[in-house]
């Protein structure tokens, strides 16, 4: 409700835009991470040895300067903090938006909004749930779909066999959510960071959104798809 007072002593860091900047920066961290992760996953196509070697290498990277799994832990901390920041900002803005319009329209058309932009919040929640599932599945192995092979390669390949088709389906659905989140997220982050103040740069940011969405989600999806269809076994 509007209060007819003027704010005194305002700070940039306490604004909604600061929250948005936090989302954009953490979002970019995610993009960087998923790009690398996707690249790693594609090593499935180079065979078991390459994949397992890569998984091992991840853990021993920087040794002896870093302890075993050192890099991974740095990465995990950064990712965890990012998720917390990203989700906090997302929910804070979500709450704010619902407070900004308590009385809904009887009829409301969306003229320009893309489906992706409208799905950001629920899509984000879906991604969060997926990540939890994914960690329980492939990192902590709490969820075992097919025994618990030692080799990461085997774990992946056995998970996506047609017999457990539902696992692949969960992953593929998550990739759709990811694609949509990235399609709007990349454009949105550019806008939030103030990189799009001409029509041309806006078109570029939009293109980058579509491009990264297709490349990343597509890249990830190749793995379960090719296992499911028996291209990789």
């Amino acid at each position: 409700m509007a209060t007819p007072t003027l704010v005194k002593g305002s700070r940039s860091t306490r604004s909604t835009i600061a929250l948005k900047l936090l989302m954009a920066v953490t979002g970019l961290v995610f993009i960087g991470y998923v790009l690398l992760h996707m690249y790693g996953n594609l090593k499935v196509f180079a065979g078991q040895e390459a994949f397992d070697e890569y998984a091992h290498h991840l853990r021993t990277f920087g040794e002896p300067m870093l302890p075993y799994e050192g890099l991974l832990w740095v990465l995990r901390v950064v990712l965890l903090l990012s998720v917390i920041g990203h989700a906090y900002a997302a929910f804070a803005l979500w709450a704010r938006a619902s407070k900004a319009r308590t009385q809904k329209y009887v009829v409301k058309k969306a003229v320009a909004a893309t489906l992706s932009s409208k799905m950001m919040r629920w899509g984000g929640v879906a991604l969060l749930l997926f990540v939890v599932f994914h960690l329980l599945h492939l990192t902590t192995h709490t969820i075992n779909v097919n025994g618990d092979p030692e080799s990461p390669y085997e774990r992946v390949v056995s998970s996506f066999q047609p017999e457990q088709w539902w696992v692949a389906v969960v992953y593929l659905l998550a990739m759709i959510a990811l694609a949509m989140h990235l399609r709007h997220g990349v454009w949105s982050a550019s806008q939030t960071l103030g990189l799009t103040n001409t029509a041309k740069s806006r078109a570029r940011a939009n293109f980058a959104g579509v491009f990264l969405a297709v490349v990343i989600a597509g890249g990830f999806a190749l793995v379960p798809l090719s296992i499911l269809t028996g291209i990789v076994d």
């Binding site: 409700m1 509007a2 209060t3 007819p4 007072t5 003027l6 704010v7 305002s10 700070r11 940039s12 860091t13 306490r14 604004s15 909604t16 835009i17 600061a18 929250l19 948005k20 900047l21 803005l93 704010r96 938006a97 407070k99 900004a100 319009r101 308590t102 009385q103 809904k104 329209y105 009887v106 009829v107 409301k108 058309k109 969306a110 003229v111 320009a112 909004a113 893309t114 932009s117 409208k118 950001m120 709007h184 454009w187 949105s188 550019s190 806008q191 939030t192 960071l193 103030g194 990189l195 799009t196 103040n197 001409t198 029509a199 806006r202």
Partner: protein, 247 residues
């Protein structure tokens, strides 16, 4: 043509409102949307029913007073103001839903009229260049690059109607805010206060209860003056710069 109207009626700010149906014959294509409502009001008056309250003043698309949500679109189906919308945009037999702008910082005063004084307070918080009357230097001592002057003009054409807020799923006034930030920030005169302006105006925007922008773009599609999304990018950039400078 014949039109059926579904209109939000609400007696005052504190009462609960509801949609109500009215039938209207003899609507001509050349009428503006508001002239059609004038006609409805003449009929209601005749029948002894309270006419529908709606805002308008210039009726030529420049004052920003008119403000109707028509069939779920701010200012209706054309890119223009409600007062410049004509009945030829509708068909004989159409049902048209008319609602007020919906946003917590824009409380409904009566029927289709809302209170937009939050916009004035956003301007009060910093939407100006501090120059006292009489202390201005000779105008041509300060050349402004044509491209910049044109951009400043383009965004300065915002009429403060609030359609951006009405259309935004988040109830954000970022387009309005960005337009003013860009207008003043584009000009050399606007530089000294540039950082404090953006911080203060954004704080006031948030304080009024407008939502944060998530770059959905409904606002610019509804804006009768075609204020582009770059102003929001500019707004974000200016705030980021101010933040880096510790404001």
């Amino acid at each position: 043509m014949k039109i059926t109207l579904n209109i939000w009626r609400q007696a005052n700010a504190s009462s609960k409102g509801a949609m109500q149906k009215y039938d209207l014959d003899d609507v001509s294509e050349d009428m503006s949307f508001l002239e059609m409502l004038d006609l409805l009001n003449e009929n209601l008056n005749e029948k002894g029913e309270d006419p529908v309250a709606f805002d308008s003043d210039c009726r030529e698309g420049i004052c920003g007073t008119c403000s109707l949500m028509i069939n779920g679109e701010a200012h209706g189906p054309e890119v223009t103001t409600t007062c410049q919308l004509h009945m030829r945009s509708f068909k004989d037999g159409d049902t048209i839903t008319v609602e007020p702008w919906r946003a917590e910082p824009f409380p409904v005063l009566k029927d289709l009229i809302v209170d937009r004084s939050a916009f004035d307070r956003i301007i009060q918080s910093g939407g100006y260049i501090s120059v006292n009357t009489g202390s201005a230097p000779e105008a041509n001592n300060l050349p402004v690059e044509k491209a910049k002057a044109d951009r400043a003009f383009d965004v300065a054409t915002c009429i403060g109607c609030g359609a951006c807020v009405a259309a935004c799923p988040n109830g954000s006034a970022s387009l309005f805010l960005g337009a003013k930030i860009t207008h003043l920030g584009e000009l050399p005169q606007g530089q000294p206060e540039r950082e404090s302006r953006v911080v203060d105006m954004v704080a006031q925007h948030d304080h009024e209860g407008f939502g944060g922008c998530t770059n959905i773009g409904e606002c610019t599609a509804a804006c009768p003056k075609g204020i582009p999304l770059d102003v929001i990018s500019q707004l974000n950039k200016d705030l980021r710069t101010a933040m880096l400078h510790g404001r």
